[in-house]
């Protein structure tokens, strides 16, 4: 993992490659962890909804296609 950032000063056009500060590294890690947590929560939510849907269809004794027909 590169611990550098590319900074462009748009007023001069100067491009610099700068080492990250400890705070920036921590922020990046926190952002990445927050994103991973959020994706995990989204995936868990999707899995729960899919399981609920399957259970409901089974209770009703119909297929997903038949449910679509009913609601269409």
């Amino acid at each position: 993992m590169a611990d550098t950032k590319i900074v462009v000063d748009c007023s001069t056009g100067e491009v610099s490659e700068i080492e990250l500060t400890a705070e920036e590294v921590a922020q990046r890690t926190a952002d990445a962890n927050a994103y991973a947590d959020q994706k995990a929560a989204e995936n868990a939510d999707k899995a729960t909804k899919a399981a609920d849907k399957a259970a409901l269809l089974e209770r009703l004794g119909i297929t997903a296609e038949e449910a679509t027909l009913l609601l269409g």
Partner: protein, 165 residues
């Protein structure tokens, strides 16, 4: 109305990669800003984060429509981010993104339109349309782009100033 795109700055990531790309001291002389990004993340699951006037994702919200290759979804988020290619996608493929920021130097909250696609030789590839908001009234003078790990070599970002007359 005539519209002129002027390239303000462009970055191509070198062999060492880069954890972020930062456009600072953006002049306030244009009507709108447009950023075109071609990026790949070293992480398995890539994502790109947009930070405005700093390096943190504060005062941000967004609404997103997303297609994943097998499903369509929509959601709201309290930060501005979207998927880009990572190491679990086909080698040497990059996501393509356009971020359009109207009235970036004005004194109202700043909206963004983001059009993003990932590339993958498999079922799962993402297409995102995002309406984002940075709820601050100060002019935008800095845009910082981060990813989960680091942008790989040949990732590029080009910032355009858009003039209307």
């Amino acid at each position: 109305m005539g519209t002129t795109f002027t390239k303000i700055a462009s970055v191509s990531v070198g062999v060492l990669g880069a954890s972020s790309i930062d456009f600072s001291s953006i002049p306030s002389t244009y009507t709108d800003l447009c950023v075109k990004i071609s990026a790949r993340d070293l992480a398995a699951s890539g994502s790109l984060y947009v930070c405005v006037n700093g390096t943190t994702q504060t005062n941000q919200t967004m609404r997103r429509l997303e297609g994943s290759g097998s499903a369509a979804s929509s959601d709201s988020q309290s930060s501005i981010f979207f998927p880009i290619d990572g190491s679990s996608q086909t080698s040497n493929t990059f996501a393509n993104t356009e971020i359009y920021i109207p009235n970036y130097a004005g004194s109202t909250n700043k909206s963004m339109s983001i059009d993003n696609v990932t590339e993958n030789n498999a079922t799962q590839a993402f297409a995102d349309l995002i309406a984002a908001l940075w709820s601050q009234t100060t002019a935008i003078n800095r845009l910082n782009f981060q990813c989960n790990s680091s942008f790989v070599q040949y990732s590029t970002a080009t910032l355009y100033g858009v003039s209307k007359s």
